[in-house]
Symmetry: C2
Subunit: 210 residues, 2 copies
């Protein structure tokens, strides 16, 4: 596999192909054309071929791609053929829903730690995981070898949580707080900002004819 | 206000400025420079000025922007100075968390309807809203004048829900199902794909030196 820099948007499309391939395999399909993959994700087949060409040839010879082999190779590229240790910080509505969200586990993202600072929440169990005291965060993040932190706290607390997480050596953050996080360049943040998506929809509804 | 086409990325930045302005107003700040706004959101001040210039001059004269006036104008642009009727389809972990998520209401996104097809869930109350039978979806979506649908069902059900929602006349969808939705061009979909964000992080961790 090439270690060449791949764009963020290619990575996102690979995730989509991965999901489409999973579905095809479930439906018993053993090969797939770039046209078919493209149609499933609403993009062009040229784009699919270009994306997949980054990683060398995947045995296409006019027969299309072998669904299982392609899925395996994408899994390897995305780092999905191993387990990742994940912590959720904030056991409010969003944090709890994520802790219960079974899809993460299936993909290898194992929730190993849930932290909160609310004494009412500390000690509760969510899906068999005890909510731990946020004051012990640094120690516990290291003890559990956490690799990815999900931040699900209110906006005003998010930056200080991010700072602590970064100090604990974590390099990957999924942020659900409705604010921008400032982190050093060796740390990656992905934002799930539902408010921004909703506002983009309300902009669209406001500025288009009904 | 200009009705000129504004890019998706500008709209997203406007949402961020809106949030930053809210914070500044809470902290009692009456004016803000483009540099300060830029620093809050990790972008350049030239970008801030460019984004805001789309909408005409906002009374900057070396004094910076009036925080309240600018917030009001962005609210108008984004369609946030009114209420929107929202339905959540799927009362699983994610749907329930969204129904309880207070931030939406504060921004004017009112959850008016929650639908599910599971007999165990129908009739339950979430934050005072009764979960209704999905089989009555079309009728209820129209009766409640729903404008935005949030889809929080498993991937295999998401497309059929999207089809129904579009048939019911809804033009804006926020999709939490981990799959691509196909909709006609007059309908806008925004995706909250947590799996894709997590995979983008695992790709980064796999392909960077630790």
């Amino acid at each position: 596999m090439s270690k060449r820099k791949i764009s963020e948007s290619t990575i996102r499309r690979l995730s989509k192909y991965y999901r489409s391939l999973e579905r095809l395999i479930q439906e018993g399909q053993s090969t797939v054309s770039s046209e078919e993959l493209a149609a499933m994700d609403g993009i062009t087949s040229a784009q699919v071929r270009k994306d997949l060409s980054f990683f060398g040839t995947f045995g296409k010879r006019g027969l299309g791609y072998d669904t299982r082999a392609l899925k395996e190779q994408i899994a390897e590229i995305l780092g999905l053929n191993r387990k990742w240790n994940v912590a959720i910080i904030g056991a409010g509505n969003i944090g709890r829903a994520l802790a219960k969200y079974g899809e993460f586990e299936k993909q290898g993202f194992q929730i190993k730690l849930i932290l909160d600072s609310d004494p009412e929440k500390i000690g509760q169990e969510i899906r068999g995981i005890r909510v731990e005291d946020y004051r012990k965060a640094r120690e516990l993040l290291q003890k559990e070898n956490i690799e990815i932190a999900i931040i699900a706290v209110p906006a005003q607390a998010a930056q200080s949580v991010a700072d602590l997480v970064v100090e604990a050596g974590i390099r990957a953050i999924l942020n659900f707080a409705p604010c921008s996080l400032h982190v050093p360049p060796h740390v990656q943040v992905r934002n799930e900002n539902m408010a921004i998506e909703m506002e983009s929809l309300s902009y669209f509804l406001t500025n288009s004819e009904s």
